[in-house]
Amino acid sequence: MRTFGLLVALLLIPTFAAADDGPSVLAKMDESMSRAVDQYFEYEVVNEEKGRDPKVMELDVWIKGPMRLTEFQAPGDMKGTKALVRAHDQMYIYLPAYNKVRRVASSMTSGGFMGTTFSNDDISTVLYGPVYEGSLQSETDTAWVLVLTPKADAKTAYGKLVMTVSKKYIQPDTIEYFNRKDQHVKTETRSGYTCEGDVCNAESMKMVDHTRGDASTELVRRTWKVNTGVGDDEFSVRNLQN
């Protein structure tokens, strides 16, 4: 009887493993990406385009829940520029030259983020579940491949995302972005994951824009702090002006 039970259990294991469907993987991924209460990054941003010298920028990023605050440190013409995402459809930008905080409409989110191949939409998407429906396309020993389509009421610049999610880190290794016409427009690669406790993060995020001759932007993480205790009030218009 015990042998029979063991046999049944062994037969069932693959069934349970295969039970990972798109929504559950997406939920797990969002959970993995939001384990930290807050995070702080310092990035070096390298823009590369064929036939041109690479351009380098430096920026600091604070993330807490769906909120994100980005401040440029270099080059000089962008220094002090801040972008605040409080929600997917509530974004602000502070331009020091004008000493003014300006609300940014969601139609602007399809535009490049400060000249990078990352769009404002890419930057503002902290969690994918609230914006996309996920379905499992395939699975290997090391990764799931998800197809993400926008939810009916979501505002997003893309028609589809194909995302390879690492089973080890439960975070994206690659994201292929497709426009509304189902054309593959960008590819993002996240690599060099490291972990602080159960919070993992990629050391490099590289976005290649296929519509611009494979121009690319790579965000190379120079500093990373987890759970710094930053308050919600840091993600405010008030803070942008300070």
């Binding site: 929600a87 490049g112 218009v237």
Partner: protein
């Protein structure tokens, strides 16, 4: 520690061995089972010694004072010093001469270099804990030597004019007495308006129109500001602000603004019949060889006292994902209006049109058709800044579903009335004293109104949209330009701005060409038959349209910025055939009514903070229009470059 204990153990071992020997002796004396004890020599005895040693060691351990733990160091806040700046160069060239005024009071902006400016901007921010200090200064080398006499040639300040602009010099404390309370003191900008460039609710800082290419820039001013965010974590965008500006600062007007004083026909008061009379009198005096000029302009700024402290309060919030704010301002408009005129004949201006310039002396008599004057009626005008209370309303967000961003900025102005006092010395037949406003033969009467106390509204309604991530469109309806003040628009057509004025008539000695006699108009009350004016509403409407085309991954930017005057112009005059005054309206895009700014530019960002740009500012329209006005400065082309660090 472990090493220390091991060392102690090693040191103690000989002593323990000696003690062990002594113990053996003692036991031998009184123990009869020596043989048995000898047989048991070895492990049991050693075990005993080891036990003893261990207990001694434990005792020693206990006797040893544990080393004091290093006191945990509280992390001290570090001073963060942020230094940045910019070096920029800007060269502009006026492509067409603009001029205003008759030959005896001609003011011209010639073709040529209009600006040759180099700026070194330095910004330093020091921050420690919740406290921050910021200084931002521009060192501006204007490039045009100003020396025009011998001492000037030995004055470096005149040969290399340098000025300093302080854009910020303030201290800021965050969460000062309790969480959510921020205080900022010093030279600063308070920008509450959500409109782009045109901000009827940005009233605390005076406008800076010195550089015509920077539409809507404002000057920093000394002020005290308190921002209170009651729930900084739960509702961080709900903020109450209070600002006090102790000392009023006037608007900075462009250098070309000086040309406006040659436009003596733009009579500023509301009473039209009085304007017609003065037009007639000015023309009569001109025909008699005494044209009117503005000889001097004095400015009366508000006294520095408690009553004149500018105060403002605002409540800002985010409701239903829309950002809104209401505000109140008590202070002054930063553009001056006339308060007093004093006119007198100045015969030192006697001249003829073709007189050679000083020091040449005229050889021969004036030609028969040459215009000559015996002098001028020189007016000294005193300007002041009208007191005003303003209710402000700002709303910004986006229209759901289409991602169209909008911004609405509305200011409802409650001005104090300003009347002008006109005084004169004896001029022709006019006796010295206050002007006879009501024409009753007695000096004085009800003074003309420059600004009525009727409330009025100025607003900006703007939309912005991005197409394909590279083209950004921005359109705005601006009701009331930055320097327009006072009731009079399409909502309440009670006030007009005179853009051009004249009296059409002849002197009795002239041949009868069908025009009325100036003497009848100027002296006998028939001014309505002579006076002609070109008018527009005091608060006009404008369409502002901008387009940014980013290319080469934001390295390149082509920008076209335009302003179209939508109010049109009305010409009022006397129709001799009809026997009445008539109005002729010139629509905004007609030949007489068209007025616009077209401002194209291209900019290239080379990276690492280095940028070059070029462009043009075309100000189009007839001279009576707002942008075709010579005082607007005319059209220029420019190149500029900057390096930011």
């Amino acid at each position: 520690m472990r090493t220390l204990l091991l060392s102690l153990l090693l040191l103690l071992l000989p002593t323990a061995a000696y003690a062990q020997e002594g113990d053996d002796d003692d036991s031998a004396e009184g123990d009869d089972d020596d043989s048995a004890a000898e047989e048991d020599l070895g492990p049991p005895e050693w075990e005993g010694h080891i036990d003893a040693l261990e207990s001694e060691l434990e005792a020693l351990k206990r006797s040893l004072e544990p080393p004091p733990k290093p006191r945990a160091r509280r992390p001290l806040p570090k001073l963060k010093l942020d230094v940045g700046g910019r070096i920029s160069s800007d060269i502009r060239f006026r492509v067409k001469e603009v001029a205003i005024g008759d030959w005896y009071d001609r003011r011209t902006l010639p073709v040529g270099f209009d600006r040759n400016e180099n700026i070194a901007k330095l910004k330093i921010a020091a921050e420690i804990s919740r406290f921050r200090g910021v200084v931002e200064m521009d060192f501006v080398l204007t490039g045009f030597p100003q020396a025009d006499d011998l001492p000037g040639l030995s004055d470096r300040g005149q040969l290399q004019p340098l000025r300093i602009e302080t854009h910020a010099a303030y201290i800021h404390a965050r969460d000062l007495l309790f969480k959510g309370l921020d205080v900022r003191l010093g030279q600063q900008l308070v920008q509450w308006g959500v409109g782009d460039q045109f901000n009827p609710t940005n009233l605390l800082n005076a406008d800076d129109l010195e550089d015509t290419l920077l539409f809507g820039e404002q000057q920093a001013n000394l002020m005290a500001r308190i921002d209170w965010t009651p729930l900084p974590s739960k509702a961080p965008n709900w903020t109450f602000s209070f600002v006090a500006v102790p000392i009023f600062r006037p608007a900075l007007v462009p250098p070309s603004g000086e040309l406006a004083i040659a436009a003596t026909d733009r009579l500023p008061w509301a009473e039209e019949e009085l304007r017609w009379r003065v037009h007639s009198e000015q023309e009569f005096a001109k025909q008699a060889g005494l044209p009117t000029i503005v000889g001097n302009v004095l400015v009366d700024t508000p006294a520095v006292n408690l009553r004149n402290v500018q105060l403002a309060a605002r409540m800002a919030a985010t409701v239903l994902n829309q950002d809104l704010a209401i505000s109140f301002y008590r202070g002054f408009d930063d553009f001056p209006v006339p308060l007093q005129n004093y006119s007198a004949v100045d015969n030192t201006y006697a001249a003829c049109e073709n007189d050679p310039p000083f020091p040449e002396i005229r050889d021969g008599e004036p030609d028969e058709d040459e215009d000559c004057i015996d002098g001028v009626v020189s007016t000294t005008t005193t300007l002041h800044y009208p007191r005003v209370h303003v209710l402000g309303f700002n709303l910004t967000g986006e229209i759901p579903g289409i991602g169209l961003g909008y911004r609405l900025e509305l200011g409802v102005f409650f001005p104090n009335e300003t009347q002008i006092a006109l005084h004169n010395d004896t001029i022709l037949i006019q006796a010295a004293g206050e002007y006879d406003y009501d024409g009753d033969g007695e000096p004085g009467g009800p003074r003309p109104t420059i600004v009525s106390n009727k409330p009025f509204a100025k607003w900006v309604l703007g939309f912005d949209y991005m197409i394909g991530g590279v083209v950004m469109l921005n359109a705005m309806w601006v009701h009331g330009n930055v320097n327009e003040f006072g009731a009079g628009d399409f909502l309440q057509p009670v006030g007009w701005a005179v853009r051009q004025g004249a009296a059409v008539g002849r002197l009795p000695a002239d041949e009868d060409d069908g025009t009325p006699l100036l003497t009848d108009c100027a002296l006998n009350g028939e001014y309505a038959t002579c006076a002609q004016e070109t008018l527009r509403p005091k608060l006009a409407d404008y369409l502002v349209f901008g387009m940014d085309l980013n290319f080469a991954r934001n390295a390149g930017l082509i920008r076209i910025f335009t302003i179209f005057d939508l109010s049109g112009y009305t010409v009022q005059g006397y129709d001799i055939a009809a026997g009445e005054r008539t109005n002729t309206f010139h629509a905004p895009f007609s030949e007489e009514g068209f007025s616009a700014v077209i401002y194209p530019s291209i900019n290239w960002n080379f990276g690492y903070g280095f940028e070059l740009g070029a462009g043009a500012l075309f100000q189009l329209g007839k001279s009576h229009t707002v942008f075709g006005d010579p005082a607007a400065g005319g059209s220029v082309v420019f190149v500029n470059g900057k390096y930011s660090f």
